[in-house]
């Protein structure tokens, strides 16, 4: 008598074997579930998403033009109005967060600053990621002269005081046509990329060096996979997790560098509003009117804390062993 044998599902097989089976989940899903359970990381993510939305919808949210110190009827707006919660005689109900020393609306400037910060966080880090991955993977996989050159460049760049190098790039190229592109933003992207790509390349190189000796790479090579395929399908995904953690710390790092440079007066060019520029401009009147400085400083603190919580959470979720 011929019996029809049907393939058992995973669950049925598990019942047969009397073990608890769970639906197969990828490592990435595991990491995601660990991340979701981390309250601090989720709070950080929430704040970051909120700031992202504010940045994207800035033109719809900002009540006034961030660079235009006049009211709708063309009169000079009140200068240094206090925010409405200050309860002083200098409060102006039209300006919820007050105005700065030129009469520009602080709330609108804060909102547009979020936009600049987001761009400064994302674009340089993307450049760093692409360049770092390419150089690092090639250097780690092939070794040879690519590796030698990378290591020599690393020696030089690691001896550079970071901030000093950024300062020099800013100070020397700021007044050229290139330094004017995007109100000085393009130069900041390039400067950040030059200073930071080496770290990312080193990270990838180290990962690839240890991964390429593993059995699964040997197996792939044994069945005739090309170098390109091994690098893109086997090495890249396996080395991705630490790089993602580095990216999650790189974004606030880039934002912070912009804020610091702008605070020193050699970052983004006015009248563009960024938190650093606002602090720089407000500092002149800090002792009599603290709000134009305190509010952007507060925004920087919140965003930096959120990114740290998210970054720590990501690190713990992606690799529980990496805990520091």
């Amino acid at each position: 008598m011929a019996t029809v044998t049907r393939p058992l599902t995973t669950q049925q097989r598990a019942v047969d074997l009397n073990v608890l089976a769970r639906r197969q989940r990828s490592l990435w899903m595991d990491a995601w579930y660990r991340l979701v359970r981390n309250k601090a990381a989720m709070a950080g993510l929430g704040v970051i998403v909120l700031f992202g939305l504010i940045a994207i919808f800035a033109p719809f949210l900002a009540p006034y033009d961030p660079t235009y110190p006049f009211t709708a009827d063309g009169k000079q707006a009140p200068v240094l109005a206090d925010p409405i919660w200050a309860g002083t005689q200098f409060v102006d109900a039209r300006y919820l967060f007050g105005t700065d020393n030129l009469g520009r609306d602080i709330l609108s400037r804060l909102i547009y600053s979020a936009r600049v910060s987001l761009i400064v966080g994302v674009i340089p880090v993307s450049i760093i990621f692409v360049v770092g991955v390419t150089v690092g993977v090639l250097a780690g996989y092939f070794g040879g002269w690519v590796d030698q050159v990378l290591m020599r460049i690393t020696d030089v760049i690691y001896a550079f005081p970071d901030l000093l190098f950024l300062l020099i790039i800013q100070a020397t190229l700021r007044n050229t046509a290139f330094g004017d592109l995007g109100g000085g933003l393009v130069l900041i992207f390039v400067g950040l990329a030059i200073v930071n790509w080496v770290g990312m390349a080193r990270l990838w190189r180290g990962q690839i060096l240890s991964l390429k000796e593993k059995e699964f790479v040997e197996a792939a090579r044994a069945i005739g996979a090309s170098s390109a395929r091994i690098m893109s399908r086997h090495l890249f995904p396996n080395a991705l997790a630490p790089a993602l953690v580095a990216v999650s710390f790189g974004i606030p790092g880039a934002m912070l560098a912009e804020a610091g440079l702008s605070f020193l007066g050699i970052g983004v060019k006015p009248p563009m509003a960024t938190w650093g520029v606002m602090i720089n401009e407000g500092f002149l009147v800090f002792s009599t009117s603290p709000w134009p400085v305190m509010l952007p400083a507060f925004c920087i603190a919140i965003v930096m804390l959120s990114f740290t919580f998210l970054g720590d959470g990501l690190r713990d979720a992606l690799d529980p062993r990496m805990k520091i």
Binding site: D155, V156, A159, P161, L164, L173, F263, V293, F307, D312
Partner: protein, 324 residues
Amino acid sequence: MARYVIRRVLLMIPTLFFIALIIFTLAHLAPGSPFDKNENRPLPEATVARLNSLYGIDKPIHEQFLLYLGNLARFDLGSSLVKDRTVADIIGSEWPVSAQLGIQATLLALAISLPLGVISALKQNTIIDYGSLLFATIGRTIPNFVIGIFAIYIFGVTIRQIPALSGLALPFVGWGNGCGPLPSCDVKRMLLPTVILGLGEMALLTRITRASMLEAIRQDYVRTARSKGLREQSVIVAHVIKNAMIPVATIIGPATAGLITGAFIIETLFNIPGMGREFILSVNRRDYPLIMGVYMLSAGLIVVANLTVDLVYGMLDPRIKLAK
């Protein structure tokens, strides 16, 4: 060992050469000359030409660079183009201020972070531990100029307005102007900048001390020490702390070099006449020799600090072999 040291010292030369080359090129790429500052009353062309030839700026850039290297080899940093002083003289008068600030901040950071890290590792997962972790997270996350702004607001502005507390208010204009090293200067003036500058390193060292202690506690030699009946106190002091300090010691060198050279933002925020502030001013004035001088000194300090760390590491931890 001697061969290793010699090799490392010789390797510093090409590194410093490339740094000099890059910074020299960048500094000279900047548009404009140091003598065209006043646009309304330009200097006569003949005067500018004479000044240029006096300082050698009219020569081709590679010739200027070789000239500079030649002087550098004789420890001659040249003269400032703006002030009537030599670069060595300017650095000699500004650098002690930065060094004092940096050393004070480092000592403060060590005095607080080492005990804090040790205690929080010994009392892992208690309220003390969480408290110090929270402090470490905030300290490494929120940029020091933002914390500095909050601190100035609280200690410099708000407290001053409350009559009962006004005696606690701190000046925030920095030192200098006849206010020399510690005994002759009002300690109050140094308090805020020192604490704020030290916070970042304090947080970093707390984290590293704690992690390194936790690592050391789990080692086999600690179990051996306990099982042979040593008192808990001597286990902790002689076995755990002694070993846990090795990674900490390696961080202190470069962190201090960074503090001594890189307190740009804090010096600007508190208006302290140190090298950081001088550097930013010289960059804006295109004072090439001064830019180069400050930069080469900083890079030199960092290179030496890195080398010292590698050597000290080998001495502290006999398991590490230096000579290849």
